[in-house]
Each structure stands twice: as structure tokens, then as C-alpha cells.
């Protein structure tokens, strides 16, 4: 598949994890993003910073097809332009006040964002994954460098997503979001038809991948009694 790590498309989250009318945060190679879905179902990805006071837009809420900042309620429409300022309800906000949208694609049960305007092949154009519907299983945060996780699960060199056929029964779509130098999000989906027991197995496999990757990275998270 043609999705590459450098200057390409990044798998932010499972489509199922962004309900209509909600906003969420994501981080792509250290770049904080606000991801939100309008009432029509369209996903939007912006830099996670309100043009007004720098508040994180991912903490905001969706009202009337716009993302509202939690701080002062400024609302930004699908194109990023400010459409409403509650403190000045009669003002038509100038077009220069706008959030910073990134290119977005949604396919195979994942929401993708492009790191630059010149990113290559759109994820939709990739034939390798289009053949079968994908059932979302879960995403896991892994406190380990993404390259190590990619190698451990068998992603081809330089790829952030691929169909795997190993360790678990049936075909698995694994997608990896590099959050930063030492952390990533692993998204797992199963090819239809997928029985519930298999989905549980796949979720468990993800936890196993997480535990082994973090152990290699010297990051161990053990629950227990603390003082």
C-alpha cells in the first residue's frame, strides 16, 4: 500500500471513535490536533489551537455544525472560518479569523490526516484494502517508538498501515499513528465477517503487542498498591 510515514497520510483514529457532533484530540508526530465530526457526518482535522487565545479546540464542543471553543465559545465552521463570537453576537467575524484545517480522508474504518498539502496518494486510492469491509476492534496507546512497534507487528518498511496475516486468525488491518518520538497509537480492525470471539482475541493480541513493545522500550506500567 502507498501510505508512507514521511509527508504522507497518518491514521489518527478509528472512525467509530468519533461520533457525530463530538470533538476529540489527537497528536501526530508531536503536532496536536483537534478532530471533530459535524452533524452531517463529515470529519474535520485542525491544529488544536483556537485563533483567539490559543485554547485547545479539542476540548470544545460541536454546535450548529461548528466547533465551539470551550474558553470563550468562538465557533468555527467546516472551512475553519470563525462564524460566531458570543461576546459580540451581532458581529460578522472577519474571514481572517480562522482555525487551521488539515486535509482529511476517511476510509477502511479510519480517519486520516495529511501532514502537508503535497501529500501523495489519497488513502482511498489504495486498492489493497478496498476489497473488504473492516470492523473496528480498538485502539491502544503504546509508550514505545512507533518504528519498533511497526517492525514487531510486521508492517512493511516505511508504512503506517497494512493488512497483516499472522498471530491471529483471519486478516487484520493494523494502522499506526506516531504520536511522538516515544509513543504511538495502534489501531486494529478485522476483516468481515468477524465473530465476536475473534474480535476479543484481536483486542487481547493488541494488549500483548503493547506489553512487549513497552518492555523492549523499558516502559513498564504495572498497577498495584502505591503510597
Amino acid at each position: 500500500m502507498s501510505v508512507t510515514g514521511d509527508g504522507g497520510w497518518y491514521p489518527l483514529m478509528l472512525s467509530a471513535d468519533l461520533e457525530p457532533g463530538t470533538a476529540a484530540g489527537s497528536t501526530m508526530l508531536g503536532r496536536d490536533l483537534a478532530v471533530w465530526r459535524d452533524g452531517l457526518g463529515q470529519a474535520h482535522v485542525w491544529d488544536d489551537r483556537c485563533p483567539h487565545r490559543g485554547m485547545r479546540l479539542s476540548l470544545g464542543f460541536v454546535r450548529e455544525g461548528a466547533l465551539a471553543c470551550l474558553y470563550h465559545g468562538w465557533r468555527f465552521g467546516a472551512d475553519g472560518r470563525c462564524v460566531h463570537i458570543p461576546a459580540h453576537p451581532d458581529l460578522s467575524p472577519p474571514g481572517t479569523i480562522r482555525a487551521a484545517p488539515l486535509r482529511v480522508a476517511e476510509c477502511w474504518g479510519l480517519i486520516w490526516a495529511a501532514a502537508t498539502d503535497e501529500s501523495g496518494t489519497l488513502p482511498e486510492d489504495d486498492p489493497a484494502l478496498a476489497a473488504v469491509p473492516w470492523v473496528p476492534v480498538r485502539s491502544l496507546r503504546i509508550e514505545a517508538p512507533w518504528q519498533g512497534v511497526a517492525g514487531a507487528i510486521g508492517l512493511p518498511e516505511g508504512e503506517l498501515a497494512a493488512v497483516l496475516d499472522r498471530d491471529v486468525d483471519g486478516r487484520v488491518l493494523a494502522a499506526l499513528l506516531p504520536v511522538g518520538e516515544g509513543a504511538c497509537m495502534l489501531h486494529l480492525l478485522a476483516a468481515e465477517p468477524a465473530e465476536v470471539a475473534r474480535l476479543h482475541d484481536l483486542a487481547d493480541w493488541g494488549q500483548d503487542v503493547r506489553a512487549r513493545a513497552e518492555e523492549r522500550a523499558g516502559q513498564v506500567f504495572l498497577s498495584g498498591a502505591v503510597a
Binding site: M13, L14, D17, E19, T22, A24, G25, S26, T27, S58, L59, F61, L70, V137, R138, S139, R141, M185, V196, L199, H200, A203, Q207, V220, F221, L222, S223, G224, A225, V226
Partner: protein, 208 residues
């Protein structure tokens, strides 16, 4: 039922567990404010006379002082099968998560207190790791529940197990842990927020 009295600290997530459940139940309690930060009133002789171990919250119910969030939740849930399932298996599951909330999850409670009131937020301490590990246990559980079509911690509807876990999850940003790392928790937090009678506390966004 005689008047309920809640010994309460606005910024304490354990007290919020009690306030949240009271609100879901539509019950009013007379509020006695305990000034923990900076007052340290939880250690005063007057408060220790009510709560010998200095534990908050305290609910006075039928004249009996019940100390600690999980105990308060159980006392209020008594006889309410929708919040405290009567079936043996689901009751056992609720018991499991109440113990988890009062045990391993304390790492996250302590982490938040240290961050807010002792200026120790970003260090990669054993406490932070244990706190993250506890959140992950809930995240993993809810991710699996979702695969079975379940939204709540136990069974088909919200129980005291959800209320015992909710504040610590919803407040984890206070110690620098972002919800973006926990999609299953994020979905569940939205579900709890949508319940009739939901109330916030400082640190939990109020969308109005």
C-alpha cells in the same frame, strides 16, 4: 428517610462521587464543607469525631455516619436494583470494580492530588506509572465490553461501578494524562455525562 448530611470538599473527587450519585438519584443532602486545602480540616478533632480516619466524603444517613466514597455509594444504592444489581454475577462484578476504585485506582487519585496541590505533575514516577496502568485496566475492560455491545462497566445500564470510576477517569487531565490515549474511556465518559441529573465539578468541562 431522615435528612441526609454530606461532609464535602468541592475539589475532592471522592466527594464528587457522592455528589454525582446524589444528583442522579435526585436526592438533596445538607452540605457541611470541609476545608481540606489549605485548611487541613480533615485532620481536625471535630472532623475526626465524625470520620475517625479522616476519610472524605462522609454521608450521614439515618443517623449513621458512612465514611468513604465506595461505602457512601453502596449505602445510597441499597434497595435500588438499577444501580446495584441483585443478580449474583453482576453484583459480584460491581463489587470487583468498587474494590478496584478503592484500591489500584487510588494511584490516579493520589497523582491528581500531588499535581494540583503539591506541584508534582510531570515526573515519571512509580506513582504515575501505576496511575496510567490503572486507567488502562478500565480502558481495556471497556474496549472489550464494547465488542460485546456493552456501554457500561457492568450490565446493560449504569451502576455504582460507573460512578465509582467516573471522576478519576474524567479528571485525569488534571495530572497531564490526555483522553486521546483512551478512546474507550472517552466514549464512556460521554455516556455518563448524558445521564439525567449529571453534574460536573471543577476540572470537568461544562458545555452548558
Amino acid at each position: 428517610m431522615s435528612a441526609l448530611v454530606l461532609y464535602d470538599d468541592e475539589l475532592d473527587e471522592d466527594c464528587y462521587r457522592a455528589r454525582l450519585f446524589l444528583s442522579f438519584l435526585g436526592l438533596q443532602a445538607r452540605r457541611v464543607v470541609v476545608d481540606v486545602v489549605p485548611g487541613g480540616e480533615q485532620d481536625s478533632a471535630a472532623f475526626r469525631a465524625v470520620s475517625p480516619a479522616g476519610v472524605l466524603p462522609v454521608l450521614r444517613i439515618e443517623g449513621q455516619a458512612v465514611c468513604g466514597a465506595e461505602a457512601v455509594l453502596l449505602a445510597l444504592a441499597h434497595g435500588r436494583a438499577e444501580w446495584l444489581p441483585e443478580g449474583a454475577v453482576d453484583f459480584a462484578r460491581v463489587a470487583h470494580w468498587l474494590q478496584f476504585a478503592g484500591g489500584p485506582l487510588r494511584a490516579a487519585v493520589l497523582m491528581r492530588r500531588a499535581s494540583l496541590f503539591a506541584g508534582a505533575g510531570d515526573e515519571q514516577s512509580a506513582r504515575r506509572r501505576a496511575a496510567v496502568a490503572a486507567l488502562r485496566i478500565v480502558e481495556d475492560h471497556l474496549a472489550h465490553r464494547r465488542l460485546d455491545g456493552g456501554l457500561w462497566v457492568v450490565g446493560e445500564g449504569p451502576t455504582v461501578a460507573d460512578i465509582a470510576l467516573f471522576p478519576t477517569v474524567a479528571l485525569c487531565r488534571d495530572w497531564g494524562e490526555e483522553h486521546s490515549a483512551y478512546p474507550a474511556l472517552r466514549r464512556w465518559v460521554r455516556a455518563v455525562r448524558a445521564l439525567p441529573g449529571f453534574v460536573t465539578m471543577p476540572g470537568i468541562p461544562d458545555y452548558g
